[in-house]
Amino acid sequence: MFVINCPYCGEREQSEFKAGGEAHIVRPKQPTELSDDQWAEYLFMRKNIKGIQFERWVHTHGCRKWFNVVRDTSNDMIKAVYKMGEKPPTK
């Protein structure tokens, strides 16, 4: 369990949130031109890093807004939180 600082509501406990997987995955501009393998790569394949990971989270039981979190998966330390559409702090 850890505390997430929602960019809209402030510090809340993790149980109020839901994780939405890896962040900053760009949808291909021309999906019809992709092979099945390339499409599957975009759709299903995600990194599973031990260390700093960029993730999307949603404040399900609060403001219901999506935002991005930079989390160290090895110790659940949250390095940064930023709104959707904002640039990641380090990348």
Partner: protein, 187 residues
């Protein structure tokens, strides 16, 4: 309001805690982002929507709760007229907001049940079933939070010292009330 049946029929009281459903209370959810939306609401209702997170504002007749950067709940401070199902506020907002495409107005009167809780043990009760830190919340009149209480989504409005209004979805209300009674009896 016509044909309103209470979700919670009992009124319960414990040492330092009184709980009851207040009905019928008009409740509206309004959503919008534009600057014109905020000013149209202000002009229509003579009530400024709170833009700071976790806060509320109120006028003589209405209270507005901040739910998210583009979503607010408005509820009536007094019990609504029980002769019909029309609300002056909703009709006004429908005309000035919905019809002008500035935002959305949804009547959630029947969706949410408002439970009024009074007493000095309110936050002792909440702390038995919520992950939210009520330390700052309890000292600030008008603060609002959406959080979880006994795994149920609730909206809590700290109306006055030792008085809060709690909004819960109707289908969860009886279970939550029964949980609150159980928990209150052990405080």
């Amino acid at each position: 309001m016509l044909n309103y049946t209470n979700a919670i029929t009992e009124e319960k009281s414990y040492s330092g805690l009184q709980m009851k459903e207040v009905k019928p209370i008009m409740k509206l959810i309004i959503r919008g982002k534009k600057r014109e939306f905020l000013s149209a609401i202000g002009k229509s209702l003579n009530l400024l929507l709170p833009t700071e997170s976790n806060t509320s504002s109120s006028s003589e007749k209405l209270s507005a709760l901040w739910l998210s950067p583009d979503e607010w709940m408005i509820y009536s401070n007094e019990i609504s007229n029980s002769d019909n199902n029309d609300y002056e506020t909703e009709i006004l907002l429908d005309k000035n907001i919905s019809k002008k495409n500035l935002g959305a107005v949804t009547d959630v009167t029947d969706q949410f049940v408002m439970i009024n809780i009074k007493g000095d043990k309110i936050f002792d009760l909440f702390e038995t079933g919520s992950p939210f830190n009520f330390n700052d919340f309890r000292n600030k009149n008008g603060s609002v939070t959406q959080t979880i209480l006994a795994k149920i989504d609730v909206i809590i409005h700290n109306q006055n010292k030792n008085e809060v209004n709690l909004f819960v979805r109707r289908s969860f209300s009886q279970h939550l009330f029964s949980w609150m009674n159980d928990s209150a009896s052990r405080l």
